[in-house]
């Protein structure tokens, strides 16, 4: 998948995420998004030692030489890193204090709304039933900012309008979030194997921000199911540095999961 011998797409996205995280932020990490996890840890091990990492426990890894990756969220061997085991329901009592989170979807529309419920037909008789809302409806309501992450960039995923919405992004555009009374900062960027996208300030419509090295604007357009805003100047996404790759490969991604895509 990678078009460059030196790094993979996931490593590129992890480096991008790392540069987004500021020291001292509280980051909520969900299941099964290895590039997001790696990006957050890269920030933590380099410029964000005071990060508050929350999964089902709160941990600080800043002095850990090599961080094991866990296949399952509840893996008890992760407890050796943990400083606090908050009661699960208390995750919701501190919901206003989370700065950053990450979400994927079956469908993502031009306003950054997400559908994780299902596609094709009238509920419940869906052609494809997805996992459901999991934690995303509430976390996206409150979190300071979040990143939408998709490992496929395809017109079936990037659609004009989600059939069902499990996470409100920018709603119907404009000041939709405000009208709904949602206090969180909404989706900031959308990360895919082809590009990074943001949202136009006024309309809140999705806009191309940068294309990954070797990807053309045409390719992004052809794989997006709605009319993406294309600014005059579209730079290339900054590739990971040697130092970033070194930290990822020797301290975070020991199994090489990131190099698979």
């Amino acid at each position: 998948m990678s078009r460059n011998k030196d790094y993979s797409i996931r490593e590129l996205l992890a480096a991008f995420i790392s540069r987004e995280i500021k020291d001292g932020e509280t980051v909520l990490i969900g299941a099964n998004l290895p590039a997001c996890r790696a990006g957050v840890l890269l920030a933590h091990l380099t410029h964000a030692p005071n990060m508050r990492w929350l999964q089902f426990y709160r941990a600080n890894f800043s002095d850990v030489k090599q961080i094991e990756s866990f296949e399952f969220v509840t893996d008890y061997s992760g407890f050796k890193y943990c400083e606090e085991v908050p009661e699960y329901e208390h995750l919701w009592d501190t919901i206003r204090r989370y700065d950053v989170s990450f979400f994927g979807g079956l469908q993502i529309d031009k306003y950054g709304n997400i559908n994780l419920l299902g596609i094709g037909g009238q509920y419940p008789k869906l052609m494809f039933r997805g996992p459901g809302a999991i934690g995303q409806s509430t976390i996206t309501t409150y979190v300071g900012r979040y990143y939408i992450y998709s490992e496929r960039h395809h017109p079936m995923i990037f659609v004009d309008k989600c059939e069902y919405i499990t996470a409100v992004g920018w709603g119907d555009g404009g000041n939709s979030r405000k009208k709904l009374g949602l206090p969180g900062g909404g989706p900031k960027y959308v990360l895919t194997p082809l590009c990074i996208m943001d949202f136009e300030e006024k309309t809140k419509r999705m806009r191309l921000k940068s294309v990954h090295p070797g990807v053309s604007i045409e390719e992004v357009k052809n794989n997006t199911g709605f009319q993406l805003i294309i600014p005059d100047d579209v730079p290339e996404t900054e590739p990971p540095t040697k130092e970033e790759l070194q930290v990822i490969r020797t301290r975070i991604d020991l199994k090489g999961t990131l190099r698979e895509l």
Partner: protein, 296 residues
């Protein structure tokens, strides 16, 4: 008069669960599910349960759907992460309409349990406003809050007839302690009329007093000693999940939903219907396998 001990057998505890009840199942994703009691409920042929899963539930709910004990399910997720991103029986049963799904996100389910715990008809929640959840779950109703006039969701109480949970240990009086995460167990216990606990071991009251800060729940109706009682799932601080077994389950469930019921019928027979007790189940799994599940 002496203090009451609440130790019970798996059979006695499972007999508290009757057709049509609303039951809560503890743990989260691939950890701490009360499997010994779930297997006994299936053996007992209980029907038409409303099953309130953990806010992010695992394949134990999928098994309950596949075995035909569930009529209605409330949770925000049923799956086994990378082993089965979506439970095979869950997916088919929701789409076919053979179970009714109380759609929610994790926090909405917690809010519903909290309302029950506090004896309220509902509690307000903001997460879910603007999403499809109130459209596909008519129990979630929009209302204007009387203080600020904001549009919120009224999340009705989900009271549990019985909460069935799994913890590390207890004394005979039901002082329940955990070495790991309590997941949503405390909320479920508080939202229940009756509360049944599986534990990895029973300890003395003196042991409990040595670490009273570990006691998370008290006043339960049954403590059921079930070493390896969460198998094939993990039990925090005791054993890891049994990947091989869960794969066997997922394959059997998938085959069933694709028209070949044989592997799942075999699974039910071998692991649930034929073993006469939790101990016999563990014999079927085998000592070698059980002892291999320890990880640190």
């Amino acid at each position: 008069m002496t203090r009451k001990e609440v130790i019970m057998s798996v059979r006695e505890a499972a007999s508290m669960i009757k057709d049509g009840m609303t039951v809560g199942i503890g743990g989260l994703l691939t950890a701490n599910h009360p499997m010994a009691i779930i297997r006994q409920i299936i053996k007992n042929g209980v029907k038409n349960l409303t099953v309130v899963g953990s806010p992010a539930a695992g394949l134990e709910i999928d098994l309950m759907i596949g075995a035909g004990v569930a009529k209605k399910v409330a949770t925000a997720y049923v799956g086994g992460e990378s082993l089965a991103p979506i439970g095979p029986f869950f997916r088919k049963a929701v789409v076919d309409g053979t179970i009714q799904m109380w759609e929610c996100d994790e926090a909405i389910l917690c809010t519903a349990l909290r309302a029950a715990a506090e004896g309220l008809p509902f509690l307000p929640w903001l997460g879910g406003v603007g999403t499809c959840l109130p459209d596909i779950n008519p129990d979630l109703k929009y209302f204007q809050d009387p203080i600020k006039g904001q549009t919120l969701l009224a999340v009705p109480a989900l009271e549990l007839d019985v909460a069935i949970l799994h913890a590390s240990w207890s004394d005979p009086y039901g002082n329940i302690q955990y070495v790991g995460n309590t997941y949503a167990d405390i909320l479920m216990a508080r939202a229940s009329k009756k509360c049944v606990f599986q534990v990895e071991k029973v300890v003395s009251n003196e042991d409990i007093k040595r670490n009273p800060h570990l006691t998370k729940i008290y006043g339960v109706d049954a403590v059921v000693p079930t070493p390896y009682g969460s198998h094939p799932f993990s039990s925090d601080g005791f054993y890891d999940l049994d990947r091989e077994h869960l794969k066997e389950y997922v394959e059997a469930a998938k085959a069933y939903t694709k028209g070949n019921p044989e592997p799942f019928n075999q699974y039910l027979k071998k692991y649930i219907l034929e073993p006469n007790s939790h101990e016999e189940y563990l014999e079927v799994i085998g000592m070698k396998k059980l002892l291999s599940l320890y990880r640190w």
